[in-house]
């Protein structure tokens, strides 16, 4: 006997909307069972993991902080993924954006440079990320090199460049030779939205990116072109759309947004250049993009959900002494359930008796 998946001809929008909800419930049930097996109360775990972070102003703020880079990067990735272009290198574009922008912050450090520093840093961040994203795009359009490999491998190049800068030319001369730069001046810092809070204007950028993307993908010819290039490349060519121009455009957008995420994170959160500036945001954002089904609003929600799993996971370690591995396993279960729910909604399962196939 084997299991066969056949695509459903029509899927009700209600089922599509309920699929992630069902996925959440299922993953919580699985995780709850594991926690119960470990001799802890699943109810307490749910409370600490989900309810408390969502009911406390401090952790709500932290949620936005953590979701900001994830949403920005994932929004950018959605342009690539919609066109079936696999940019796996957002982490590198994030780092390169941070490097470009930080150059100005360090150049103007200790001077009276005014309010123009920060906007220019952000623009530099976008340019850095976009240029870095264009490398795999160029290699693909010019030489037909697989963009998955080049974009991924360029991550390491970017990380090592940052490493070199933090240990070498950009090192704080008064920092006992430790690998980190001076801390940025106020003029080079993305200000917090609320005074003394941790949420900075990077979150506003993420919201703008969501809104703009919703319009671009839903209501413009460019958005239609992306979808067509992804779903039916031949049809797109017949329609006169240049696939090369599309490749370049989506990689530039994707890289630019990752670069913006990089510079806002370094400038708004970390406040200095150090060898490591990301706990893997560029890779986690791939998950976020798919969890959000490449839909801008969906991505924003997915970024908040993934951020919640990190913050809830830390609370679970502190309050319930649950191990970190469980948090990570839970993230995996959640993604699997969401993907499975999607597959089940758009496909019909059939059990086929052995030999009863074609």
């Amino acid at each position: 006997m084997r299991i066969e998946l056949t695509p459903r001809t029509s899927v009700s929008p209600v089922a599509r909307a309920l699929a992630p909800v069902a996925a959440f419930i299922t993953s919580f049930l699985i995780a709850g069972f594991v926690i119960w097996l470990m001799g802890r109360s699943p109810i307490d775990a749910f409370d600490v993991y989900v309810l408390q972070p969502l009911s406390d102003p401090w952790s709500l703020q932290e949620l936005l902080v953590k979701a900001t880079p994830l949403a920005l990067i994932a929004i950018g990735l959605s342009y690539c993924f919609r066109a079936s272009l696999w940019n796996i290198g957002a982490e590198g574009q994030y780092v390169m954006g941070a490097i470009f922008g930080s150059w100005l912050a360090l150049k103007t450090h200790g001077t009276d440079a005014g309010t123009w520093v920060l906007p220019l840093m952000l623009i530099l961040g976008v340019i850095g990320g976009a240029l870095y994203g264009l490398i795999p795009a160029f290699l693909k359009t010019r030489f037909g090199v697989n963009e998955i490999l080049t974009s991924l491998m360029l991550v390491y190049v970017a990380q090592l460049t940052l490493d070199y800068l933090a240990r070498g030319p950009w090192r704080d001369p008064k920092g006992f030779n430790f690998p980190q730069s001076v801390t940025f001046d106020t003029a080079a810092t993305v200000p917090p939205i609320l005074e003394a809070g941790r949420v900075h204007y990077g979150f506003v950028f993420a919201l703008i990116a969501v809104a703009v993307t919703a319009v671009v993908l839903g209501r413009t010819l460019f958005g239609y072109r992306l979808k067509l290039t992804g779903d039916a490349p031949r049809a797109a060519r017949f329609a006169g759309f240049s696939s090369k121009a599309t490749v370049m455009a989506v990689f530039a957008i994707s890289g630019g947004l990752a670069g913006l995420a990089g510079i806002t994170e370094v400038s708004g959160q970390i406040g200095q250049i150090q060898p490591s500036i990301s706990p893997g945001y560029g890779f986690t954002a791939i998950t976020v993009a798919f969890l959000g089904r490449l839909n801008p609003i969906g991505i924003l929600v997915a970024a908040l959900v993934v951020a919640l799993t990190f913050i809830g996971g830390e609370s679970a370690q502190i309050m319930l002494k649950l191990p970190l591995d469980l948090t990570q396993a839970f993230q995996g279960i959640l993604l699997l359930c969401v993907l499975a729910a999607d597959a089940l909604v758009s496909n019909r399962i059939r059990l086929v008796a052995r030999g009863g196939g074609k």
Binding site: W58, R167, F178, T183, Q269, Q274, I277, P279, Q317, I318
Partner: protein
Amino acid sequence: MFSCKLFGAVAGVAVAALSATGALAQAKDKIKVGFIYVGPVGDHGWSYQHDQGRQAIEKAFPGKVTTTFVESVPEADSERAIEQLARTGHDLIFTTSFGFMEPTLKVAKKYPNIKFEHATGFKRAPNLATYAAKFHEGRYIIGQIAGKMTKSNTIGYVGAFPIPEVIAGINAFYLGAQSVNPDVKIKIVFANTWYDPAKEGDAAKALLDQGVDMLAQHTDSPAPIQAAEARGKFGFGQASDMERFAPKAQLTAIVDNWNDYYVERTKAVLDGTWKSQDVWGGIDSHMVVMSPYKNMPDDVKKLAQETEAAIKAGTLNPFKCPVIGQDGKEIECKGNGALSDEQVLGMNFYVKGIEDKIPQ
């Protein structure tokens, strides 16, 4: 008990000012102590040893102290985890990696009534103390053992990152080896990670392939010493006693013993006597402990024990002047007969005889 290094005086003044305003903590009956680890507690190295210290606290004050830890906290995203501990009623918080320095400082400023202790950093505040250990003392001893025991006359070193602490360790190791074997050669590989068994193991194999028969490591997993064991060569445990991973290969291990320090600082909070300070403990203060010398001839063992005793007594300093740099020029001696603490803490040069270059 502990030597105080840089800025101790400054911190002292700050504490005095604070106590004058009456903000100094009172004695407490029950406290919570929190820990932030950079690696998993199961790394059997750095984070593992800090967790041993945490457990020592629980044992020392039953019913009075509860402890919490958060493991594998990425340095670039640690501020929230530290603040979570601060917000959940912890009275004393240890952040145990250099990369937590700025986030710890930020959170410490926000929560002036909570005590913070940051390992291996140099930024302090009235409620933020720092502590570190002179592991280079132990590395001088294992250098002597390696220099004596090597047959290929080539010893190897798996480093994590070319930061001052690691560089000082490499220099101390090589100076130790040179003191008993002037012609010995050293090969160095940086794994660019504190904890990644696969990368560390690869680095170790690369060194063994190049004829290294004595392997020191400044990364946290047992992978390098296990690689030495598999090839029938020798190695030294890092941070914890790794004998069970390499019973034939481990000559000794440099054990980070945070237990005494953590218990002492917890007691200080309980008593209301905690003060911001800067501590740099070595073999003499029991922060650096050599695990039993094994798998070596008696004369080498005797030498190691004598060196250990001399360092403990303060008659031997691995960085006694003159220290000669790679270019053959003497390093300016800023300390009392040896390099100053500041010079060791900010070390960014290799000593003469090391043919590598520090990666920049």
